[in-house]
Symmetry: C2
DNA sequence: TCTAAATTTCAGAAAGTTCTGAAATCACGG
DNA sequence: CCGTGATTTCAGAACTTTCTGAAATTTAGA
């Protein structure tokens, strides 16, 4: 590996965290490298920077493309494929959330739905099904909320984040106003 | 493995998903089994239900305890340790979020902070640092929001979820009211 | 304190994954 | 439609993780 110290530390950290994030070391390193690079890199640039085999880089880029985390760019007068990460970190976050949901949540949701359709054959199975229903309900609420919120523009998203838990104060205020209006109409 | 079909499907699914969630097959299966079980189980119950070795169950339970995902219970007149999962699925979700943050996010946040303190040695490093700053800013916003929201009681949490993206309408309404009040005071 | 059941530890076997170099395939310019 | 360079595929080597059975340790009651 042959990189400026600051970048090397960042790349190595992403490599180490890779396994916790469900990707392998090389994939993590490739992503990190592309993320901080000021210009698109081709596969050989990555081979040289990280000191791994050409084929490993090829497989890593393939996986990152499957995750929609890198973009293929073409440089004029250069046949080779070049890669970057999207500039907008919010967009990256959205992509990451979307892909993780697809891989880590959706399959479970669909298994739960299937199992909840079956008739329980015993008290034990009836209890199990009740627990599955609780889990299904929770996940469904969360994903519905997520589907809703993911469509917000970045600006509204940040406004929401900045509000934090104070959002519930707003909720209380709304309830009060609604109460007043009702009172006036009905009274 | 010797389980009613409905429960077996659930347990097998959790085993398969385990690797995507950063836990191993046995750990996933143990958790699933405890989650749907109507009463606390001891290690031998789990060995029998899942058909894995006693020591493997011991290690799995150990890991689940490290994740705070199972509770140790004692049954009167029985020396053996028994295990359950918490009843409240919201509590489970909170625990899961907390643990994942601790393992998957916090280390990166602290590495980013460190690297942002260093003086860049070149234009390349300066650019890299700017990218790291963007990432750091995003993660910090998100974790601050999370720290804020995780303290909400379940009821308020569900209210917030139910509102979904409509929460931003509320935000607009608030801005309008604030504007009105300001206008009155100043005008 | 002693005993026996319960639990944990640990070294090595089994299983799974990541990585490489060599060969195959692809695709562009002539 | 050929030659060259870019890219992908793939079998097996290297490495990592998971799992087991045996031995060691812990624990609760006699």
């Amino acid at each position: 590996m042959n990189l400026p110290p600051l970048i090397q530390s960042f790349v190595l950290h992403f490599g180490e965290m890779g396994s916790r994030w469900g990707i392998n070391r090389t994939v993590g390193q490739i992503y990190a490298l592309l993320y901080v690079s000021p210009r698109p890199l081709n596969a050989d640039d990555i081979v040289e920077a990280l000191g791994v085999s050409r084929s490993n880089v090829s497989m890593g880029l393939r996986e990152l493309q499957a995750w929609n985390l890198v973009l293929l760019r073409h440089i004029p007068d250069d046949r080779r494929d070049h890669f970057t990460t999207p500039d907008d970190v919010w967009q990256i976050l959205r992509t990451l959330a979307e892909e993780r949901k697809k891989r880590e949540v959706d399959p479970t949701l669909s298994v739960l739905r299937e199992l909840l359709m079956l008739a329980p054959g015993s008290a034990e199975e009836r209890h199990a099904q009740a627990r599955m229903a609780e889990m299904h309900g929770l996940i469904e609420r969360l994903t519905t909320w997520y589907d809703d919120v993911k469509r917000l523009e970045t600006e509204r998203m940040t406004a929401l984040l900045a509000l934090g838990a104070r959002v519930t104060k707003l909720l209380d205020a709304k309830d009060k106003v609604v109460g007043l209006v009702r009172g006036r109409k009905e009274g």
